[in-house]
């Protein structure tokens, strides 16, 4: 062992598919809260604390999907609730059935405490559409209360179009990197 900063997979460990979500114009949670790791209550207790998380699922677009959006919210995992740490937006290819969708993000604490700060960066990949990184735009550094409990890094999706698009996630893991 080279130091105390070992990495750990955070519980719970996801072993079931999630319920398919019909996308709307506002962010919706795509995982049941029971499948997400609680990162509240001082989990981000020191500057530099980092969590890596990755999800996999599939998405279906119809005739006019518009843009596909993925946002990472720090909050309760309720739809469109919490602090949006970052987002990714891509023009979504129409009429793509059950294409694989995955995302990969790293969230780092810059300041712990009740007026803490988090930075979240990553990418998403929709087969048939694109692989795209999140923009480094405001709020690149988000001020949040890191002492409340429970709190989650909640992936949420949306679309700007007008047809019936769906998202069905299969798996997610959260790895505490240090």
């Amino acid at each position: 062992m080279e130091g105390p900063w070992v990495s750990n997979l955070l519980e719970p460990f996801n072993v079931v598919n999630q319920t398919s979500v019909n996308l709307t114009a506002t962010s919706q949670a795509v995982y049941a809260t029971s499948q997400l790791a609680n990162v509240g209550n001082g989990f981000f207790g020191y500057a530099g604390k980092t969590v890596h998380f990755r999800g996999i699922g599939n998405v279906t677009s119809a005739a006019t999907p518009g843009n596909f959006g993925l946002a990472i919210l720090y909050g309760s995992n309720a739809n469109n609730t919490g602090t949006q740490l970052c987002s990714v937006l891509v023009t979504w290819t129409a009429n793509q059935a059950n294409t694989t969708f995955m995302f990969d993000f790293w969230c780092k604490c810059r300041t712990p405490g009740s007026s803490g700060t988090l930075v979240c960066e990553g990418w998403m990949f929709i087969q048939g559409t694109s692989i795209i990184q999140n923009a480094f735009s405001a709020p690149f550094v988000s001020t949040v209360n890191l002492l409340t409990n429970p709190m989650y890094l909640s992936p949420q999706v949306s679309r700007s179009g007008s047809t019936l698009e769906t998202c069905n996630m299969y798996d997610i893991f959260y790895e505490s990197v240090n």
């Binding site: 130091g3 105390p4 070992v6 997979l9 460990f13 990755r54 990949f125 798996d171």
Partner: protein, 183 residues
């Protein structure tokens, strides 16, 4: 070690030996799956190693050369004895392969999640294949992902196998592979 372990639970991530320390030699691809990763390079998962929720991460680095009509490059991850085409296929993808690209770097990443154990245990597996010059696709690319039945009361290796569907002299060179027990 310079302090107490800073842990968020009992589920440490560990790299699994053996640890690769050399490259392989260039080998021709055929039209059926071949286990290009030597068994001496990959860990053996003993009987009843897996529990529900157990997650593995595997990365394979290699290089390929395509000729005039490579058609498609196929990758699968197999649970078995690491011999050609034998075992349980955990996931698969095919990618239309750009012709006449020489010695390009390639990477495959896989995640294997045990969803249940036993004689009819269930594995959920996915990944990404990145062929230099050709592109990047998920494994699988479309159609959703289904659980695969695996007998977890028996041991086995988990390793990728590859083939090409075309007719010319494509090659693959195995460079490195590592396996991480994520929990």
């Amino acid at each position: 070690m310079d302090g107490p372990i800073n842990t968020n639970g009992a589920f440490y991530c560990d790299s699994k030996p053996p640890f690769r320390d050399r490259s392989g030699s260039s080998t021709s691809l055929t039209t059926s799956y071949v286990a290009y990763v030597p068994t001496s390079d990959i860990p053996w998962f003993p009987a009843n190693y897996f529990y529900s929720g157990k997650l593995l991460y595997i990365r394979h680095m290699f290089q390929t050369t395509s000729a005039a009509t490579p058609t498609a490059f196929f990758v699968e991850l197999m649970f078995g004895n690491n011999t050609n085409g034998n075992g349980t296929q955990l996931c698969v993808a095919g990618i239309t392969w750009t012709a006449n690209v020489t010695a390009v770097q390639c990477t495959c990443d896989f995640w294997v999640r045990c969803r249940s154990t036993g004689v009819s245990g269930q594995f959920f597996t996915y990944g990404v294949v990145w062929l230099g010059t050709t592109g990047l696709i998920p494994i699988p690319a479309t159609g959703g992902i289904s659980n695969v039945t695996v007998n977890t009361t028996q041991g086995g290796y988990i390793a990728p196998q590859y083939f090409r569907s075309g007719s010319t002299a494509e090659t693959i060179t195995h460079h490195d592979i590592f396996t991480r027990a994520m929990n």
